[in-house]
Amino acid sequence: MTYAIETNDLVWSAGRRANAFRLDEVNLRVPQGAMYGFLGPNGAGKTTTIRALVGLLRPKSGRIRVLDHEIPRDIAQALSRVGYVPERPHLYPSLTVAEAIRFHAAFHVRWDQRWADDLTTQFGLDRHRRITALSKGEIGKLMMLLAMAQRPEVLILDEPTDGLDPVVRRDVMMALIEYVAEHDATVFISSHLVHELERICNWVGVMDRGRLVAELPMDAFKSGIKRLRVRQAPPTPGDTPFVVLAREASDGLSASEVWVVRGWQAPMSQWFEGVGASLHEVVDLDLEEGYVELLRTFRRPAA
């Protein structure tokens, strides 16, 4: 498999103090052509990782490769093939929409002016309006327009729809999906909106406290995490063919427990009979529930 983005033991620290935030040996593998959802709670290190990917932060150690370019060494070459939408608006406020587009176009050799014009109309952006006079949604749309009209092979989007209303969010996501379908681009997108990523992404990576705690295809992530209702569960499960993420007594039924497990497959139900328990229910978890359970497990202190 070839990777559009790859990091090896990426380490970055916000300072020298022992409690300073750090990225801790992050090993990302974003396959070429993937829609990669980058999840994590606030302060998990998503934006920091992204800033390192686009050369805004210099790693303390480890290696970053974007489209086979070493970052930060070959950052200019990499950025000519990467569209980046930062978490906060970064455009020059005194420019109008048309001027901001002209400015951005001047730096990108593969700039598609026709598509930029189409998107300007599609997004309902007033070309003569100053950036300072644009709403948050309009700025979000303009930043997406700039990132996509440069015809990048990789789009790195840091919460591009955060704070946008559902209509604007849908417009932006539709344009993104259209772009990816037409150009077979790789998308690396971070978001708090788990359901949004669930719909469009085929890969998922989860960050927590500066570490990448999971990275796998979306299907595997979703199908592998289940909630089980178990009766007569053994006090210590011993060797299980799956990973027990959480185990709690069920409401009202003292003999019943709810288990959240990872790596579940249907034939594993036999294991319960072998230990004198009975499995009553297997519930699929959606991405958000799976993500929350994963973080809960990761954060639980070791026994």
Binding site: G55, L56, Q77, Y84, H90, Y92, E99, F103, F107
Partner: protein
């Protein structure tokens, strides 16, 4: 690319540029309107107004130099740093655009000087130096602009070092004074910098539009 950089710089510096342009015309016009009759009276008037030229040149360099990075500073340089050009090249484009704007003010100063000196009926022995003053103005403003640009391009740490160095000099001056020494560090440095061969020698020359 350069055109766009120049345009953005013009966009956020236009009011300043207009103000500087007006002042660059106002100085020679003010200096040479209703001149006294005697040569010494004329020279006194021109000298009185002449000191405004270096002030304006410094102001031009200072304002254009500080405004060059203003929009980038506001966005923490994220936009500039994520454009697909080497960072040194981007800085060079910004510097070049600032020089063009600084030169534009210099050209306005030259036009103003030419306009004010054209058709002057001067006593014998006096002549105009519109071109010389304009060139001096231009070089001075570009010099100040370059220094300010270099300082503004640096990191906070660099700015800290510069401030610490200045603070160190002032402290040294204070200590030398406290111990009763006759040495005046700051004055000596200023004289060295402003004298012939020093980096700021341009400031100490003649800024007379009309001279002997």
């Amino acid at each position: 690319m350069f055109r766009q950089i120049l345009f953005t710089q013009w966009r956020w510096g236009a009011p300043l540029m207009v103000l500087l342009g007006i002042l660059a015309i106002a100085i020679p016009v003010g200096a040479l309107s209703t001149l006294p009759v005697t040569p010494s009276g004329i020279l006194d008037r021109v000298a009185f107004w002449g000191w405004l030229y270096p002030m304006l040149a410094v102001l031009t360099g200072l304002l254009i130099g500080t405004s060059t990075w203003a929009a980038d500073h506001r966005g923490n340089h994220v936009y500039a740093l994520t454009l697909p050009v080497p960072r040194w090249y981007y800085a060079l484009l910004r510097y070049g655009a600032g020089v063009v704007l600084t030169v534009a003010v210099g050209v306005v100063a030259w036009i103003g000087a030419l306009f004010a000196t054209s058709g002057l009926d001067l006593p014998t022995g006096l002549q105009t130096f519109a071109g010389a003053v304009a060139v001096r103005f231009l070089l001075t403003s570009v010099l100040v602009y370059s220094v300010v640009f270099a300082m503004a391009s640096g990191t906070n740490r660099t700015a800290g070092w510069i401030l610490a160095s200045l603070g160190g000099l002032i402290l040294a001056e204070f200590l030398v004074d406290a111990f009763g020494s006759e040495v005046n560090i700051l004055e000596t440095l200023a004289i060295l910098a402003g004298s012939a061969g020093g980096p700021f020698a341009l400031f100490s020359g003649t800024w007379m539009l009309v001279a002997i």
